[in-house]
Subunit: 498 residues, 2 copies
């Protein structure tokens, strides 16, 4: 990944922040700031504050280790203190995340405003209370705002920023920069309402879900499954209004809203209160929809949605979870169908694959790790073919690739249909020497080759050990059959400038 | 990916299906069936039926090419016919997806029921109408059910199955098998209600969103962004009720619901109708939540959620879309911060990385493509370091890896902190010969090595061509500096069994 010009946004991070509250939100704020290199001073009332924050920090470290290969900064320090005054001393930003009780927050924010410098930002994590109610009794209320995050705060990027009647516009701009510098997506809420934006929408779902349980229409699991296997997959990509438009697949935004609006007259749910779809409201919706699309047409939006859905499904496949498990099961069915047809007397011709269209790097070409992924899939095919299944791996052992020499004769493009032909160059009790030759459909000459050495690893000891049973018989038989085949041209070649 | 035992589910696919309707849903049903090898006979009223279905099929092909490396079956055929009778002739399943008008659907389903064999499954895609209303006038109504899919049908797995008063239980089981065999997740709805489950939840969100636009609290884009940068990311993973529980982070399911319930007394939204949280309802929720969790504790659920969120975020990063764009921007900031500190007189010591915990394969070990990804990132680092930025690539050209010899001396584990040291073995106008040596932090000996040949490709011609400008100066200077360094032991080695 290349850098996008010179940016100094990261330097907008505060040196230190003061956090009040150590619940699910307070602890996760601590984790986000600390992992972004910001020193945290934290005060929580509960006796196990240190333990709770450390647990949250451990979860966040684990998540970031999976999330990114980018070099994380040196962690900020965590100082758990005994008073609010100590927590806010000399910090550049205060983040309050105490329980949702108006008087508690009012009093605490007023106290804090007297303890810090007049330009220290003071932010409340409240998920529902209006900033004007919270800032009234504060010293310098113009530097106060709501900064409402979402659980888990260290992973979800949104932070809703909302100023009250006394908040200065520059306060919102300063806060937005800080949250952006710790990897977040600030959204300025233009009007003070209870619950801001996202939680009002979440609450609507929650109420309807409660009715479904109450009326025995569905169980908790059925409701959750109905969401995560369907429209929930779209929600990570596009919001409810744009996906509604795509459900109609009507280029004209106003007509799509009109057509959808007819459904509102025959409500499905118990939550029937709905604004009338007047011409003025339709015009507003249409104008805002078109503005949002940024000149993308509906077909273009559909493709973007599909590409992102594919990426989300592949992500969930890597976890074998939810819709990703459905995908895995389907793929196994597909493999099962073609696997029995392979002839083993020549190089093994593995199933034809098409190079996925999203496998190209920044300049329209496959990256090396994609080639590697292709050959890894081919090696997996071979191992499946010789009978190395989950049972063998759980009881006896596995093969591990320890050396690869990969050679590219002609570049592949997305969409190319390719086939790997696999030849066993040698095999003994422990080693397996393979040569994969990948050709584009229709080509005589190979496009890419990969020579590999695999070692058999004993499952119990974790050291090299002999292959066993049916797999052993199969691999030695294949090696015997393939010993008669001509040796590939590039087998055993050296690397060097020619 | 290994196969999970012997399964024959895929063989449960029907040979052919008859589809009625060619809108967004009908066209996408055609695509799902055809790409799963099922012949489709389709009737649509509109004059551009063929064009619409083919457009949908093209989108679906494109999506599947990205989605999977599994060998797709030979496509089923598409036959667009002129009458309903022709569409349903000799098919094993009829799927009706005509507009949502009760009388239209009733008449059509009754007609179909008289035209097909008594055991042919007849399914309606209706998103709201109850099956008992639709099946009353049918011949053999016991083989009729609702099978309600979600847009885009070829990608989203959920299909809600709902039988009416006259539907036989075996009908639901037969249908579930068929939809599972074409990669879907069937969910049997236990009670007939308008809109089944998912659409009732979607409608609740939609109504609240409409109020927000109506009251000028937020624009369409702000509402959609508030969802997709926050709880929308969770929705692909866990449904609304389980995530609510995790928001409370309370192991006891009943207490988590009680604590959350207090918020229902101070509604945020205009949709205030809500069932009372009686003891009976709380008990029901708690029991169902615990059953859903399948003995996973709240901390375990939190980790599962985080792992899946990471996978979803990484998926969106590959598309540079939504929360994935936020992640990209943050990573670029991080790289920018550490990049200036590298000393070029010895092998270049690239930023330390930690092996992500989800990089392990089925047996707790890194797969070859992950090693390849590590070295690819190291090569990217080098290219960034010598000044090959987006501007250079868009105007002049790029380096392409054409050969790699990868050698594993000791295996890496998830969590290992590793550093790549990169030495230039040679460079001329067009070629660059690199040696990456990867060590675990604290180890003397390298763990893995990768020797690479890169060619400089001219951006205009797409053929090899000379490196230019500042990058040229930088790469030749580096080669000159590194010529004095000792040559790595494994440089130029051959592959072979020892």
């Amino acid at each position: 990944m290349s850098m996008r010009g010179n940016s100094t946004l990261f330097e907008k991070r505060p040196r230190s922040v003061g956090l009040l509250g150590s619940g699910v939100i307070g602890g996760a704020w601590a984790a986000r700031f600390i992992l972004n290199g910001v020193d945290v001073r934290l005060h929580g009332r509960s006796s196990d504050t240190v333990e709770r924050v450390n647990k949250c920090l451990a979860n966040a470290r684990r998540a970031y280790q999976r999330l990114t290969l980018a070099p994380l900064p040196a962690e900020g320090s965590l100082t758990v203190v005994n008073s609010i005054a100590e927590a806010v001393r000399d910090v550049e930003l205060v983040q309050e995340s105490v329980p949702e009780r108006l008087e508690l927050k009012q009093q605490m924010l007023a106290d804090v405003s007297r303890a810090v410098a007049p330009d220290t930002l003071i932010c409340s994590s409240t998920s529902a209370l209006r900033p004007s109610l919270l800032q009234a009794a504060m010293n310098h209320p113009e530097r106060m705002l709501i900064a409402h995050p979402f659980n888990p705060v260290y992973l979800l990027p949104l932070v809703e920023l909302c100023g009250g009647q006394l908040t200065a516009p520059t306060t919102l701009a300063r806060a937005a920069e800080i949250y952006r510098a710790v990897g977040m997506h600030p959204l300025v809420v233009r009007k003070e309402v209870d619950g801001f934006i996202a939680n009002r929408l979440q609450e609507a779902v929650w109420r309807e879900a409660l009715w479904l349980v109450h009326d025995d229409v569905a169980t908790v699991q059925e409701i959750d499954d109905a969401v995560r296997y369907s429209f929930g997959l779209r929600r990570a990509i596009m919001g409810p209004i744009q996906t509604t438009r795509l459900g109609i697949a009507e280029n004209d935004a106003r007509r799509s809203m009109e057509r959808f609006g007819s459904g509102l007259k025959t409500p499905l749910t118990k939550l029937t209160n709905v604004p009338e779809l007047t011409d003025a409201l339709l015009d507003k919706l249409a104008e805002q929809l078109d503005w949002q699309a940024e000149s993308m047409s509906v077909p273009e939006l559909e493709q973007k949605r599909d590409d992102c859905l594919v990426a989300v499904l592949q992500g969930l496949r890597s976890q074998g979870y939810g819709a990703g498990e459905t995908l895995l099961r389907w793929e196994n069915e597909l493999r099962h169908c073609v696997f029995q047809l392979i002839d083993s007397t020549g190089p093994l011709s593995m199933p034809i694959r098409q190079i996925p269209f999203d496998w190209i790097g920044y300049d329209d070409h496959l990256t090396e790790s994609r080639y590697s992924q292709l050959f890894e899939a081919a090696t997996d095919d071979l191992l499946n073919y010789i009978g190395m299944d989950e049972e063998y791996r759980s009881i006896i052992g596995r093969y591990q690739i320890v050396e690869t020499h990969w050679f590219c004769l002609r570049e592949l493009r997305a969409g190319d249909r390719v086939q790997v032909h696999t030849q066993i160059l040698g095999a003994d009790e422990e080693c397996l020497h393979l040569f994969h030759l990948l050709t584009r459909e229709g080509d005589e000459e190979p496009a890419v080759t990969s020579e590999q050495i695999l070692l058999h690893i004993d499952g119990g000891s974790g050291c090299r050990g002999p292959v066993q049973g049916r797999v052993r018989a199969r691999v030695l038989e294949l090696a015997r059959l393939h010993a008669a085949l001509p040796r590939p041209v590039r087998a055993g070649a050296r690397v060097g400038l020619s």
